[in-house]
């Protein structure tokens, strides 16, 4: 029985994707970043735990709303029986159809969220109706924060919020994803701390503050501040010769 259900689910799911890809031009392949030679590109999706987290949220929401709707319908059925019977199909449609839509939507949300990390930047794609791709280079990042709620902790996932300079505020869209002009939101990853540390390491490596300071003015300082081993060897030889000259 459950095998048939699984197959039906898969069929519905594939069919939905087929329609989305063919009619609504939703790209099914991952976004990419232009890579320089020797640059590593890592393409990822949210963790499986994220899907489970969304599914749990969905079931909780479904239980609350459907109990409420069913309760209302039953009350109506008792109070005004003829009206209750007339609206039965409508009530059941209201109870069931949004659930199916929400269930498909959460899977699609999971499928259409992509994160691409390169050595210099991160690109985030999300969305089905409106597809938004955000590209942020590490040099511009001002702060990286990791967020985790209790439910997310249970599923072993957390969210990373990347902020660049400039205000404008952060707002949550309908699905709970944070959006804003100067923000990148990586949600549902299991190794948030690793990603954050890797980002911070790259931010430190860039030396600039990400506020438009040009690297040219600060590179000269560090280049002349260090002697190379060859130069040190020559200096040592010069010292020895000077000593010899002084002692002779």
């Amino acid at each position: 029985m459950s095998k048939h259900v699984d197959r039906a689910c898969e069929w519905v799911y594939e069919g939905t994707w087929g329609i989305l890809a063919a009619w609504f031009k939703v790209p099914r392949d991952s976004p990419t970043l232009p890579a320089a030679a020797g640059e590593t590109i890592e393409i990822r999706r949210p963790d499986v735990g994220f899907l489970r987290y969304l599914t749990l949220q969905f079931w909780i929401g479904l239980a609350i709303i459907d109990l409420l709707l069913t309760g209302l319908w039953i009350m109506l059925l008792i109070a005004v029986p003829w009206l209750g019977i007339i609206i039965t199909p409508l009530a059941w449609a209201l109870i069931i159809l949004p659930d199916i839509a929400a269930y498909v939507a959460l899977h699609l949300r999971y499928d259409t969220t992509w994160y691409v990390f390169s050595d210099r930047s991160v690109r985030i794609r999300r969305g089905i109706w409106t597809i938004q791709e955000t590209t942020i280079t590490y040099e511009n990042i001002q702060n990286v924060s990791v967020r985790q709620g209790p439910l997310q902790r249970y599923f072993g996932i957390s969210d990373i919020v990347i902020e660049t300079a400039g205000g404008g505020g952060i707002s949550a869209d309908g699905t709970g994803a944070l959006t804003g002009a100067h923000v990148g939101f990586i949600e549902g990853v299991s190794d948030a701390a690793t990603i954050r540390d890797a980002m911070l390491a790259r931010i430190r490596a860039t030396r600039s503050t990400g506020l438009g300071d040009e690297r040219a003015c600060e590179s000269s300082r560090s280049a002349t501040a260090h002697w190379t081993p060859n130069q040190l060897q020559r200096l040592t030889e010069i010292r020895d010769l000077a000593r010899a000259l002084a002692s002779s």
Binding site: K25, E39, R120, S121, A181, L241
Partner: protein, 180 residues
């Protein structure tokens, strides 16, 4: 089943900045459809959009982008590539059908509306790559390579100089030891 060519690869993959001065004609179609969705308010929405389309000019030079539009109230936005810090490429369903995308370019200013939104370029992904290659932080590797090579150059000069000093000193030592 998955028509990836239509969505991910633009019709002509190369973006020629010097030739891109006007938005593509399909932008007008997009504006038209957007306005038509408002029903009776169509003229109210369409006339300003048509004026914007008719006067919109892009100019991509070596340093930055300039975007101009407006009939009565004219606006010109110029921003340098090096100040770009976020690039958002957004396509809604209508834009995907038509083959358009809007690219919002953010600098570090304090408002939430983008500094410039580039619309009406069919090669949106190529344009984004063009901007990406020039934005701050993307040329990190090149910069360091140049820096390293110039550093090496300076180091070589210093080494040659030190070698000369050593050789001169060695001659001095030789001479003084002969004198002694």
């Amino acid at each position: 089943m998955v028509d990836s060519t239509a969505t991910s690869a633009p019709p002509s993959p190369t973006f020629r900045p010097e030739e891109t001065t006007r938005p593509n004609r399909v932008l007008l179609t997009y504006y038209g459809i957007c306005s038509a969705l408002l029903g009776p308010f169509f003229p109210l929405a369409f006339i300003p959009l048509y004026c914007k389309y008719a006067t919109l000019r892009y100019e991509f030079d070596d340093e930055g982008i300039s975007v101009r539009w407006g009939v009565l109230f004219r606006r010109e936005v110029y921003l340098t590539y090096r100040r770009i810090q976020d690039i958002h490429l957004t396509r809604n369903i209508l834009q995907r059908w038509i083959g358009l995308a809007s690219i919002s370019v953010q600098t570090a200013s304090g408002n939430s509306t983008p500094e410039t939104t580039i619309e009406g370029v069919l090669e949106a992904e190529a344009l984004r790559d063009f901007l990406y290659a020039r934005m701050r932080g993307s040329r990190d590797g090149d910069g360091e390579a140049n820096e390293a090579s110039s550093g090496n150059q300076a180091n070589d000069d210093a080494l040659a100089l030190l070698t000369d000093i050593r050789d001169a000193l060695a001659q001095l030592v030789d001479r003084s030891s002969k004198d002694a």
